[in-house]
Symmetry: C2
Subunit: 403 residues, 2 copies
Amino acid sequence: MINVAILGFGVVGSGTAALITENAELIRNKVGDDVYVKRILDLRDFPDSPFAERITHDINDIINDKDISVVCEVIGGLHPAYEFTVAALKAGKSVVTSNKEIVATLGVELLTIAAENNVSYMFEAAVGGGIPVLRPLAEDLATVNRIERVDGILNGTTNYILTRMKDDGATFGDALAGAQKNGYAEADPSADIEGKDTCRKICILGAIAFGKLLDVKGISTTGITALSLSDIENAEKMGYSVKLIGSAFKSDDGRIVELVRPCFVPHSNPLSHVFDVFNGVSVRGNYVGDVMFYGRGAGSEPTASAVASDVIRIASGAAVNGEPWKAASAAETGCADEIPAQYYVCADTADVSAVEKTFGGIDKIIASKEKTAFVLKNKMSLVSLKEKIKTSGLSVSAVIEVL
Amino acid sequence: MINVAILGFGVVGSGTAALITENAELIRNKVGDDVYVKRILDLRDFPDSPFAERITHDINDIINDKDISVVCEVIGGLHPAYEFTVAALKAGKSVVTSNKEIVATLGVELLTIAAENNVSYMFEAAVGGGIPVLRPLAEDLATVNRIERVDGILNGTTNYILTRMKDDGATFGDALAGAQKNGYAEADPSADIEGKDTCRKICILGAIAFGKLLDVKGISTTGITALSLSDIENAEKMGYSVKLIGSAFKSDDGRIVELVRPCFVPHSNPLSHVFDVFNGVSVRGNYVGDVMFYGRGAGSEPTASAVASDVIRIASGAAVNGEPWKAASAAETGCADEIPAQYYVCADTADVSAVEKTFGGIDKIIASKEKTAFVLKNKMSLVSLKEKIKTSGLSVSAVIEVL
């Protein structure tokens, strides 16, 4: 019997308990042993739950229980998740989490503590919900490919809002209100719509791809709050979908660059067809080329699937503990604004020739009485582009990267 | 040092040798040891290859070499691949293959021999080229989810042809000729266009999802040779893409059903946006919901990535050998034609009311002077549908399942 404890009986915790119970026979066949949820930590009581008897309010009931070998930390946030995780790892228990904030922020330390105590710290559920992506990236693709870049639609809330704007012609504000009404956005949606959630996830993907964890606070992060409906409509006319994309790649001089921003994604890129609350993660390797992983990026049941798959790895002795990450130094970290990219620009002028004079080759021009929207033919850095806009004196309402 | 032998120095074999050599440092860091291609078996000599010195024409140079622990069988076909694989497994060597024919046909026996000899038999490259899909399905999704169904675009040649028909308005014959000219179809394309290649791959996916290998010869398999351009155009007008889909699922009475046929795939399904030579595999689990894996399904470098990732699993001691598959009995195998599904039908009549009278509720009607194309509102089995057509006396030019 493998005994598991769950910290936090919320959306993910209750889904995980339900999965391990409902699919018990299937799991037993795979593991060759029973996997049992022995304890659940929560501040609340759940008298009507089938797990009522197993609820505890005291973390020590779990840390001091020598029969519990795996702890699922699905509380979220940094504290007390951090203290509980450290205590569990030091007590010789493996820890599984869906908590992207703690992995993105404290992953170096927690992986090191796990390695020192000869246990596993696993977090498939922290990125892409139920999609198996961290393990295929770490254990299949990155073992034999030089990973060139990872790009992902990593936040279901923003992707739902962008889908509503495109399909229903809703403004950002109306689409956000609809998402909140339908339970796809929280009352305080800032972590989602400002790109912070995506930032944590691309930070984790980058660490797996390149072995170094960047400082989450240093990652250039732009959310979707400033997107106008007209830019989304222009994107469609030009053959793109607008998506909030987290990217991690190596610059030409070998630095790791990570950033989060809305992008025009060409319809030829499968990420452009990821809609509603779905997530997609695209990985480019020097042999495999482009691979994409797609599925539900959040929700009780999909996330429980990823948490449980980590538990089962540990229970069946199949967990692969790679080298703990290292923190990326400043010298190893590149500046996103200095990397040449293609851009969409919307200028507040009907004078197309003035625009062409300022920017050189432009393409896919959509001109109206007041505005000229276009895509720059040549790549340039955001720094150069902003400098060009400044010296031209042109007023510009949107600058959006083309992926 | 982990010594590897490669059987067959063709497209996949040369890619695998190149990958293991070019990415040697990366592999050493992951495995903690050097991985070296010691021997390559081929009937030909390759005097100009950097691997010229390692070529042998005698399989015994590999079987009898106690230093070689992993053999990559990338010859294809059943013989002599089968004899070489058995000899290698019995000599205590793990075998990695990209050979879908041998896995789909003889997988039960070869997995059993591997288990008896305490070595691994792995074949990530046999399905979906470079896409990591068999392992995430086996080791992540199926460990904790009851797998409900797997649907895949598993053959790049046919998907390329269908893409050309859709995008260029080419007939099947012209698109096939173009594919052959561009190296995307073989001189004898029958295994691809008649669906046999897809059949072998869905057979492997089904065995991983459900633990039982169906008899490949018993799987209902329809290729794309009978597809008309007008049906492909109708599909687009109705909001579908036409794709050759291999499916494996459980029927309501618990039997395993597998089949290969062209389908109308709704644009809301991400498989409908898999174009050109790309593959996509969609998996539905009872907790995770729908997950899709996407990438290059063939070619030297992507397939080499999958072969090498299996080699590295074995070299680093991380290979998970599940229970060998069992052969599905007749009682465990369902009949695809008896499963209710939605269908597109094109009838050779302009009399829409006669069509409605025959079929009941119909939808998305496209009527011309000679034909009426439509989608049936209600699901019915192919057996029932054909009976209905027969008794009505209507002439029908196309019956295509809606996925």
